[in-house]
């Protein structure tokens, strides 16, 4: 029995969260310290796993497996590969910095951290799941604490609306995907006699042709054939889009900016930084990897949805007056690049998409952290009302500018090494369909728009005249803990930009296995 490091990463947050609930509510500082300790353990262990993963060997490592519900072929099965590992690390980084940022939170911090940690367990659990049922199990755990976190601690004006909208959107998406997953499970079971939720086994059976059958639906009245299509082609859109709702894919992205804006700072960081990756990751793991034939059929069509995400998201971001909505829509735009990377169906594109998931997660967490710092002090997020903050909060201003560079894809920052491969992938994908070239050109315009809205925010919020009379409390500089969080996030962005080799080979090894499934060598 090896050391179950993944289980410890997954369950530390929820266990600590439960223990926090047993603390007396008024001992707030002990609660914060305990929360930070738990987050530090998660970050430390994720770093350990990240650096001790054997890239040369590839495949799934740190695997833990035992039976959970044998009657249904459900197992407790965990492991990481080159795709999930960066995301585990990302979650560790965001939970750690999120706790730092929320130090000043004074309204029931005990419940806040408890719910945040339940969410963290759900997210970690989804990333390391190798069992389909287990993946759903953790996925749902990640969805519901969001409701409480936004509804209780969120922005007064929209929190109830946003929380309910978000929860229902995500829940509907996930149950639609669940029905698809059950269909896979029973179809594979009937074809081969092996009823299993183990994704590795399912993938193996899929490769040996267990899902090669047609689904025929006849009209109940005339008996005419309505649908007669291969299984994978029928079910792929349900599974993929069901999960992609959480990745904010157009036209199901609507919950996301509202949710980002209504959420308290740490939750926005978690939400945009990690939770949206959860959707993209599950869409990849369950949709594309278990139904590769469906992916080949549908992705060239879905690429049009993603281009809407990228371009439309960027334009909407440009006209927002609310500082936080700008970031919210920029997330929609950047997550579109991830799905677009998936749609290239080639190696370079997938590497870019995976790197983008990590890079965007860190970047957007940084953005939301800075927005939170500004809002906490100015009590407004209306861009025209702000100005000159660089004088009062130089750290926050520098951090935002670094985030902006990442967002624009400047060389030397992680955004560049993530976005460049996606565009290369799009260019290569012209072998699949010539219109990919047009897509590449269209989405390249989004980069210009991104530069516009980032610079506009930088100019209006951080530079310009600072007007003392606007803010009665006066504006203080950020705290030491805030600075720590900012430094951690910025250094990750720069390190990855300067030394892509820290992540590139790892991701590349993970992408190889997907390419094998897609039949692209």
């Amino acid at each position: 029995m090896t050391f179950p490091v993944l289980s410890i990463i997954v369950f530390t947050p929820i266990v600590v969260g439960m223990l926090l609930l047993l603390f007396p509510a008024e001992r707030k500082s002990e609660i914060r310290v305990a929360a930070l300790a738990a987050a530090a353990i998660c970050l430390g262990l994720s770093l350990f796993v990240y650096f001790s993963y054997n890239t040369a060997a590839g495949g799934y490592q740190f695997v833990e497996k035992f039976d959970w519900v044998p009657d249904f072929g459900i197992s407790y099965h965990m492991g990481v590969d080159g795709i999930s590992l960066p995301l585990v690390l990302l979650t560790g980084i965001v939970i750690f910095t999120g706790v730092l940022i929320s130090w000043g939170m004074d309204d029931r911090p005990r419940e806040f951290f408890a719910f945040l940690f339940i969410l963290a367990t759900g997210v970690f659990g989804t990333f390391v799941s190798l069992d389909l049922f287990q993946l759903f199990f953790f996925y749902e755990i990640a969805v519901f604490p969001m409701f409480l976190l936004i509804a209780i601690w969120g922005w007064q004006q929209t929190r109830e609306y946003a929380a309910m909208k978000l929860t229902l959107y995500l829940f509907i998406g996930s149950v639609i995907a669940l029905v698809g997953a059950l269909a896979m499970y029973f179809t594979i079971g009937r074809q081969t006699g092996v009823y299993t939720f183990d994704m590795l086994k399912m993938s193996e059976l899929q490769q040996s042709g267990a899902l090669n059958l047609n689904i025929t639906i006849n009209s109940p009245f005339t008996g005419a054939v309505w649908i007669n299509q291969p299984f994978e082609i029928v079910w792929f859109p349900f599974v993929f889009l069901g999960f992609a709702v959480l990745a904010g894919i157009w036209p199901f992205h609507n919950w996301s900016p509202d949710g980002h804006v209504a959420a308290p700072t740490a939750v926005s960081m978690f939400h945009a930084g990690v939770l949206m990756k959860l959707g993209a990751f599950a869409a990849l793991r369950v949709g594309i990897m278990l139904l590769p034939e469906g992916a080949k059929f549908w992705m060239p069509a879905f690429v049009f949805l993603t281009v809407v995400n990228v371009v439309y998201g960027a334009f909407i971001a440009m006209v927002q007056k609310d500082f936080k909505y700008v970031i919210g829509f920029s997330s929609v735009s950047h997550m579109g690049l991830v799905s677009m990377g998936f749609a290239t169906l080639n190696r370079v594109g997938y590497i870019g998409a995976t790197l983008q998931m990590f890079s965007h997660g860190v970047m957007t967490a940084l953005f939301f952290a800075v927005v939170g710092m500004v809002y906490d002090r100015a009590h407004t997020r209306n861009i025209p009302d702000l100005g000159g903050f660089v004088k009062k909060m130089p750290w926050a201003a520098v951090a935002f500018i670094i985030g902006g560079f990442v967002s624009m894809g400047m060389p030397g920052f992680s955004g560049f090494i993530a976005e460049l491969p996606i565009f290369l992938g799009l260019w290569q994908a012209r072998e699949i369909a010539p219109y990919y070239v047009v897509i590449a050109v269209l989405s390249a315009t989004a980069i210009v728009v991104t530069a516009c809205y980032v610079l506009r925010v930088v100019q209006n919020v951080f530079f310009g005249e600072f007007d003392e009379h606007k803010y009665h409390d006066g504006i203080a500089d950020v705290t030491v803990l805030d600075k720590t969080a900012i430094v951690v996030l910025c250094s990750v962005l720069i390190l990855l930009g300067v030394f892509p080799a820290l992540m590139y080979p790892l991701v590349s090894s993970g992408v190889d296995s997907i390419m094998r499934l897609l039949g692209v060598a």
Binding site: L21, D71, F186
Partner: protein, 484 residues
């Protein structure tokens, strides 16, 4: 399976029921002997007694070989055993919940009637003969009518008792008519004898279908399935809350126990395939209507009443899959429902005692007044809504998986969509509890000892069933095997 002639050993199979009679006598006797000041302990005696009987049943009452005893009246098998444990457990918890409730907590005869009701349910779970079936159902029903209307001074309780009685009596006569038709056409009263007769094809099918529908009316009333659900909200709202809890969990489970045993024994799907369509429609409508009507509710007991209708629909989905796995899923669902709903009602009782209200908007600020109570409600409601890592998630998963396995994909889809609607109104209540504030925020609510014990037990139970659910499902599976 043959009917074994009477042996003294068969009394062992009825041991829990015999002990229940003894316990009822004991409580009644103590009620006479004890002075007013000590009568709060009556509930404790009843609760501990029921827990002990459950323990005795677990240890000595494990059925060996499945057999029909007492001239075929009773079937001694694993399914009956599991249902017994559930009823005894629910009864014991109900006694604990009644302790501090005004007007019922100190009444010996209240607990006596409750114990008699548990006795009736135990027999419902084991009945294998039309006569036994009817006797058991009436034992349960009549005692429940009394309990629902127990607060004579309270108009709503009196209304509740009367309404329950009128609806119950009507559906019961209809069912009795169906039973008599069945007997008239087959000449048998034992389930298995009837099944043999029907399988031989000597009986015309039309009267059997009619009998079937009439009997379904009675069962539908017990489980509160649409269209026999009209009594539910009023009865739930008016009855003393512990009794509401008891009706919603134990009586519903008992209803499903007889429904599954009766229909799976007498009418296997092969005999009457059209039967499927009817129950399927019933399941879909029950889920949808229950959930839809729960949304506008302002009173938490009425909300739980409509939600209990919806949950009857989910259980029906498991049943209508007509497979061992489906039946097992239904049984597992009922077990989780017992735990979850009892937890929810415990919160309702404690809150009503402290704040004097059952209106949902009065729950505002509960999370500040009593974080523990709010957390228990959160766990219970999210479990009802089917969120992991709570019991309700596995329950729903098993039920829908059974439906998909039996090629009822559309029913699974209807169920899944209903789960979303359900989640919506549970979240609305949780929003009131956690987000809204009230002027009473600074008045903490104390949870009395027995209630905090019950809440702790239920929450742990919900978490255990929601994570390590495999052994429990295996349990339900072995019970389901007995039903076929």
């Amino acid at each position: 399976m043959t009917i074994t002639p009477f042996e003294a050993a068969h009394l062992l199979a009825l041991l829990p029921e015999i002990l229940l009679v003894v316990l009822a006598g004991l409580v009644m006797g103590l009620d006479l002997v004890w002075p007013e000041s000590r009568r709060r302990s009556l509930g404790l005696v009843a609760a501990i007694g029921l827990f002990l009987i459950a323990g005795v049943t677990l240890i000595f009452g494990r059925p060996g070989e499945t057999q029909l005893i007492f001239g075929g009246m009773i079937r001694d098998d694993f399914a009956a055993f599991i249902f017994r444990i559930v009823f005894l457990f629910a009864g014991a918890i109900t006694c604990l919940l009644s302790l501090d409730v005004e007007g019922v907590g100190r009444k010996g005869e209240y607990y006596t009637i409750l114990i008699a009701s548990v006795l009736g349910m135990n027999l419902m779970g084991a009945a294998a003969d039309l006569i036994m079936l009817y006797l058991a159902i009436e034992t349960t029903s009549i005692t429940l009518y009394l309990l629902a209307g127990y607060l004579r001074e309270d108009d709503r309780s009196a209304e509740s008792g009367l309404k329950y009685f009128l609806f119950g009596a009507l559906t019961s006569t209809v069912m009795l008519y169906g039973l008599s038709l069945l007997y008239g056409f087959t000449g048998q009263t034992g389930y298995y004898a009837i099944a043999e007769k029907l399988a031989s094809g000597a009986v015309p099918s039309l009267p059997i279908i009619i009998a079937l529908i009439l009997i379904a009316v009675g069962f539908g009333f017990k489980v509160a399935a649409v269209p026999f659900h009209f009594w539910t909200p009023d009865v739930y709202e008016g009855a003393p809350t512990p009794i509401t809890a008891f009706i919603s969990v134990a009586s519903k489970t008992a209803g499903f126990a007889v429904l599954m045993r009766f229909f799976l024994a007498i009418f296997p799907p092969a005999v009457t395939p059209s039967w499927n369509a009817m129950i399927m429609a019933m399941a879909a409508v029950t889920m949808t209507l229950g959930n839809a009507l729960a949304i506008p509710q302002k009173n938490i007991k009425r909300l739980l009443a409509y939600s209990s209708i919806a949950h009857a629909g989910y259980v029906l989905v498991g049943f209508v899959a007509f497979s061992q796995r489906g039946a097992a899923a239904a049984i597992f669902y009922l077990i989780t429902y017992v735990l979850t709903n009892l937890a929810a009602f415990t919160v309702v009782i404690v809150f009503a005692k402290a704040a004097g209200s059952e209106q949902i908007y009065d729950y505002a600020g509960l999370s500040r007044r009593s974080p523990g109570l709010a957390l228990a409600l959160l766990v219970a409601f999210l479990s009802l809504g089917g969120m992991p890592p709570l019991a309700g998630f596995f329950a729903k998963f098993y039920v829908f998986a059974a439906a998909v396995q039996s090629d009822l994909i559309w029913l699974a889809v209807v169920g899944v969509l209903n789960a979303i609607v359900g989640l919506y109104y549970y979240l609305v209540v949780l929003k009131v509890v956690y987000v809204y504030r009230s002027e009473n925020d600074d008045k903490p609510i104390a949870v009395p000892r027995p209630y905090s014990f019950v809440l702790g037990l239920m929450v742990v139970g919900i978490l255990v069933l929601g994570t390590a659910s495999a052994p429990w499902f295996t349990w339900a599976m072995s019970a389901a095997k007995n039903l076929f």
